[in-house]
């Protein structure tokens, strides 16, 4: 785990060409504030599989995902893993009350983040209620998603879980990259299983089943949604 700063100008004006400027926490800042804000953070790169932070680590930074996908997860002492979410560009990570991260995060594929040391970030927020409000919005949105996911984990069948996952993931990609029936799945089957509270075998079998039904096609690095309506029907059931 040896992250390195990407930009050649450590504190340069990199917000200008930041793809997530309009969507992330930054969207609450005006041009002058953004200029000041960018001096707080630095762009950092993580290679595939690298850990950005671990559960129980003291929180020293907040992170704004710029590019790539991260898995956010918790481990039980015996190694069982539950993925509590996937982070995509625009997601903001690191908020907590205890002073420690309450989940681990690692890169799925190449990831770039904007990293803000905790203390200066906290001071910056202090007199900018707009930014605090924005962060609160993000927390509330995540809370709502977390509750939806509890319903999935506690009350849905394997078929419903997989169908719901495919639709939800597609929706996030659509919001990010525009409409498409090709759904890229950068995470492994094990990641999907640990997200849905299933085993890798069940996920694999369910994918195969969906393919045999003709509603998806399994392609390299993802799936193609052949019959979104049927998948929606399976998810709702």
């Amino acid at each position: 785990m040896k992250p390195f700063v990407v930009t050649s100008e450590p504190n340069g004006h990199f917000c200008d060409d930041c793809a997530v400027r309009g969507a992330a926490v930054c969207s609450s800042l005006n041009a002058a504030e953004l200029r000041e804000f960018e001096h707080l953070g630095r762009r950092v790169h993580f290679g595939s599989g690298e850990t950005v932070f671990s559960e129980e680590d003291i929180t020293t930074s907040f992170y704004n995902v710029l590019e790539g996908v991260m898995r956010l997860y918790k481990l039980l002492p015996d190694g069982r893993r539950q993925i509590v979410g996937f982070a995509l560009p625009g997601d903001f990570l690191g908020m907590n009350l205890s002073g420690r991260h309450n989940f681990s995060a690692d890169a799925i594929g190449e990831v770039n983040v904007c990293q803000f040391p905790k203390a200066p970030f906290g001071r910056f927020i202090e007199d900018r209620p707009q930014l605090l409000r924005r962060i609160n919005e993000l927390a509330i949105r995540e809370l709502s998603q977390a509750r939806d996911h509890m319903v999935l984990l506690g009350r849905r069948s394997a078929d419903e879980k997989v169908a719901t996952f495919l639709l939800g993931w597609r929706e996030r990609l659509v919001a990010l990259k525009g409409p498409s029936d090709m759904v890229a799945l950068p995470m492994s089957r094990q990641d999907i299983a640990d997200y849905l509270g299933l085993t890798i075998e069940t996920v694999s079998r369910t994918f195969t089943k969906l393919e045999r039904l003709g509603v998806i096609e399994i392609i390299h690095g993802g799936i193609s949604l052949l019959d979104p309506a049927r998948v929606e029907a399976m998810a709702a059931a």
Copy 2:
């Protein structure tokens, strides 16, 4: 569902004798602000089983639980239910982005809440970053609990779920009412099952099993923790 205002003086100085003043959102307000704040809300009572708000209802109010217990849940179209949490005194309900509640809430036993109409509350927050910060803290705390619960729902066995629930619930009661090995369980077995992603039969069998092992005693309206350490061992396993 016919809630009625409890206090005889609709906008009286009821914060003075409010049991949760120090713990709830209100803890972020000074005396003068509290005086102003109490004019925004009114104490409302709900009888056992009454619904405080429903999923998909337009949010018209925020709620601060004063007394009693509420179940917070989501329903699938076919009636399956997932309880996403239990609200206790000091909990703050109603935050959302969509303008609609994203879960339903009803009273388990008699409940008193402090109800704040959305618009004036929003205006009050506007120039009180302290209150916003407090609400943000509560949201982040809930988010952390939600993630813990995802781990439970997705990766723990029935025994672990029940043991974890008993310990977690006891901890909340202890924080509220002081230490005791008597754990009051005002919610039904069905509520517990829907919280843990189990059936009522499995919950019942697990309780009986714990009792036969001598680690708990099932008493009327709750359980007595005879051997907390063994229960903790079961929860961790």
